[in-house]
Amino acid sequence: MLKARILENKLSSLYKAGKIVGGVYLGRGQEAVSATLGTALVQGRDFFAPLIRDQAGRTAFGEPLIDCTRTYLGSALGPMRGRDGNIHRGRPELGMPAMISHLGAQVPVVAGMLFARRLRGDLDGRVGATCIGDGASSTGAFHEGLNLAAVEKLPLVLIIANNQFAYSTPNHRQFACTDLVEKARGYGIGGFSVDGTDLLACASVIPEAVRRAREGGGPQLVVAHMLRLSGHGEHDDGSYVPETVRRGHLGRDCIEVAMRQLVENGIAGVDEILAWQDQFAEEVQKAVAQAQQEAPPDPYQEDWTALATRFPLPHCNSNAQPACP
């Protein structure tokens, strides 16, 4: 989570310096939740469909920093090769699909990945996890996807990071229940509610949800409560967030809380944490420097086709074999 924070601070600077086009979307304030999830998953076995504020989860899951900097800085060598940018990146072949902007849309995709593995007789203790925000809980895709996963009893873990605002829309304009975790009962799935500003709480609840899904308990919904400590993107100053909310419990910075928890519980010392910071800053610097040196995509080298099939296809042989291509 610390590495993600340092990386994202750098991305914000690069954006403000005009080095990144499009936008920069930070997970500031949500690192405890995201990193805890990423840590509970095993790359190569589990599936993880991160969303907009999951840099920490991506890093914990095993995404190298260079995938992030290459995508933000438009290097042709990145996983999206300049064809998509910022947080719309993934490596589906490694169990990490690339998000689209339409919220809730990854829920059934992860369900489908798990469904396929079960059909192949290869589910093998895998889980699939994805994250959404409070806003996406209002979409049809969320409902359809979660209900489908429940009907199929798939090992899906869905985290709702309730960061109080969907862009600028507050919770009370988004849903009418007290806590979104109440929805779990309606879907017939497991439900957890956790303080997303509290790393130790996240580290206790989220792996437990993952364990239950892994052990055949069907989909698990985890609702984590926190405040987004940035704008929707770096173009947004978030001035619609009332000062009282900022100063309240949910406005705590999960990284500061975590550092305190590590020190107070004797898990890590202050010097150790400072050393991590230095080390991560250097890693981030390297990943940025490397991506900045790399060539952007060349429109003259693009094949400009969205199809994997190369038409025209060869002619088929009469009626001999039906499967022509």
Binding site: P79, M80, R81, R83, D84, H88, G90, R91, P92, E93, P97, A98, I100, S101, H102, A105, Q106, V107, P108, V109, V110, A111, G112, M113, L114, F115, A116, R117, L119, R120, G140, A141, E144, G145, N147, L148, V151, T305, A306, L307, A308, T309, F311, P312, L313, P314, H315, C316, N317, S318, N319, P322, A323, C324, P325
Partner: protein, 321 residues
């Protein structure tokens, strides 16, 4: 013994399930019930664990298919009616269609769309959505008009690495029969000349091919030789076959059952005009449905879509130039 168009679709799915362990079927009421049109009748028994009833969730059905394709499967999704695919539109055009371009990983899934009008089906069970899907990069859009094509194009479509929108016409399901599912097996992306002629070319697809042939038969009585081209595949569009036909006849009428604004017929006319203006002896014409929702009453419905009569009328106008 004869084979219907829907028999061919069922047989194609049976063949695919038998020959390819990656194929599975997912859709509403398709398992024990065999589907609203019985396109999957008996398949759940014949292939246990390969044919699944889905919840009534078109968006999630397509999302599941994308995820399954990522993990190496070849899902075939049955939409109960093409019209309902509007609920799945996001997953089709934003998730499935962009995936290969964005990530380099192809998404081989097939969406079966029971398309087009039948008497009494009304505004929400009659739509022809091929033109809408063809507008988006990253999709293959197929519109078989014959029993043989219904079989071979479904099998060939599932074998493609790309998402395939398979538009099967509900009117043809039981009306169209053939002696066998064999026929000239053309590759996907190639149009077929179903009737040769020298005075005008009608470009059609799906059920409209049959209406165009009837119109051509009527005009034959007056001495006109009308060539009919069955596009078979909307995307990719075999404009070469169309241009070659127009080169022979000098006249073009494009006929489609979809709504008139834009769409397949507009694309055909615009490409022929662009690439073959010098071949044309008359202004190219289009004939589509009317610009209203598809009406319920059979009398209104019959006047909403192109018919042999309206195609004849359009051809007579075209031949008068």
């Amino acid at each position: 013994m004869s084979v219907t168009y829907i028999d061919a679709i069922r047989e194609a799915q049976a063949t695919l399930l038998r020959d390819d362990p990656r194929v599975f079927l997912y859709g509403q009421d398709i398992a024990t019930f065999g589907g609203a049109f019985k396109a999957t009748k008996g398949l759940a028994d014949e292939f246990p664990g390969r044919v699944f009833d889905s919840p009534l969730s078109e968006d999630a059905m397509l999302g599941l298919a994308v995820g399954a394709a990522i993990e190496g499967m070849r899902p075939i999704i049955e939409m109960q009616f093409a019209d309902f695919s509007s609920i799945a539109f996001n997953q089709i055009v934003n998730q499935a269609a962009t995936h290969f371009y964005r990530t380099g990983m192809p998404i081989p899934l097939t969406v079966r769309l029971p398309s087009g009008g039948t008497a009494g089906s009304g505004p929400f069970h009659s739509q022809s959505m091929e033109g809408i899907y063809a507008q988006y990069p990253g999709l293959v859009v197929l519109t078989p008009a014959s029993v043989s094509d219904a079989y071979h194009m479904l099998i060939d479509g599932v074998a493609l690495e790309d998402p395939v929108i398979f538009c099967e016409h509900k009117f043809l399901y039981r009306w169209l029969k053939a002696k066998s599912i064999n026929g000239d097996h053309l590759p996907i992306g190639q149009a077929r000349i179903v009737r040769t002629g020298k005075h005008a070319t009608v470009v059609a697809y799906s059920a409209m091919v049959h209406e165009a042939v009837r119109a051509a038969e009527r005009l034959h009585e007056d001495g006109w030789e009308i060539e009919v081209v069955d596009l078979r595949s909307i995307k990719p569009l075999d404009i070469d076959t169309v241009l070659a036909s127009v080169a022979r006849t000098g006249r073009l009428l494009a006929v489609g059952e979809a709504f008139p604004w834009g769409g397949v017929t507009a694309e055909v006319v615009s490409r022929v005009t662009e690439e073959g203006f010098h071949l044309l002896d008359a202004p190219p014409q289009r004939l589509n449905s009317r610009d209203t929702p598809v009406p319920y009453h059979p009398k209104l419905w019959a006047a909403h879509r192109p018919t042999p009569e309206s195609i004849c009328e359009a051809l007579r106008k075209l031949l008068s130039f």
